[in-house]
Homo-oligomer: 214 residues x 2
Amino acid sequence: MSIVRVHNFAVSLDGYGTGEGQSLEQPFGHAGSRLLEGFLATRSFSIIHGGSNGSRGVDDALASTWAAGIGAEIMGRNKFGPQRGPWTDEEWKGWWGDNPVFHTPVFVLTHYPRPTLVMDGGTTFHFIDATPQEALRLAQEAAGDLDVRIGGGPTTVREFLAADLIDHMHVIVAPIILGRGVSLWEGLEGLEERFETEVVSTPLGNTHITFTRR
Amino acid sequence: MSIVRVHNFAVSLDGYGTGEGQSLEQPFGHAGSRLLEGFLATRSFSIIHGGSNGSRGVDDALASTWAAGIGAEIMGRNKFGPQRGPWTDEEWKGWWGDNPVFHTPVFVLTHYPRPTLVMDGGTTFHFIDATPQEALRLAQEAAGDLDVRIGGGPTTVREFLAADLIDHMHVIVAPIILGRGVSLWEGLEGLEERFETEVVSTPLGNTHITFTRR
């Protein structure tokens, strides 16, 4: 059965999934790379980005589940790029180069649709103005028997959680206090009641929490 | 050397150290006992409250460090009781009965001082209207060579963190989303830079984070 999954989604101790002031230079705003540090150290991250180094422990095992069995991703426009409002530059094709890491259809939620981008390696960016339910229907159609990943950012994950559309979520709590940014948890009081949670901390200093629908 | 410590301070994933709506019936407001669950299961908690049951694992080892070497506590008035504003009922002597768990002088921060309460077992409640620095000076004087514990609630711990008066802090992250309440982390952006952090999750589902001054 096809399910809806979130992977490698890092938050600070105060619950922010990204910092303030996202820009071309700072995709995570003032958070810089601090939220990603545990993930950056893993072999899986390295391989996704064309390398072959990195840790092979628990962090890597969890990180490696990101790609397997995924047939489509849904992401928010703020993950796709730093632009806001109407597209002024359709040259922007995401942060991930000509051969993006996804290798599946990717549905980008935006109030400003633009033509589909066919990239190398199987990634196709579709720009849609849709509710979470509508977007998920399109993504599931594209994914066939495979799962759909909700790729972030925090606003998008939060909306899918609020709509109770997520079956499995892997969150990494980084031991930092960002102070400001976009909260993953806002408006989700009692979320844990819908999920079994499992927690593991690792020598790299990450705390992984998995939420699996009850 | 005498240091300033915080122990067994539980927060939700969204950073709340207590819920909304504290009352006589609900000392932690709508959080109920959910923030304390990991701690409640330990032998140390049981012993503090006159019992002898409970777990003996990592959670208990960490919980047991709460009392050793402490010569005085500072707490906020909201930890002492649910009343706000001028004292209308000086009969209230805290949540902990005639023989409170502290067994040391306890300095209760309040804008409404009242006479000192001498309890059984060595606990004395002093009610003081003081800055964190002034309160700490009094508590350190009372503690002699021993350490001072900042006992909470979240507003008090946050104020002492903001004033950089805390040397060691043990936080328990409970895998729940409270949605509302009193934040421990608000205004503390970058706090981790002043501390070495160590993280361990346990089979009881707690994540313990210790902050030790660099």
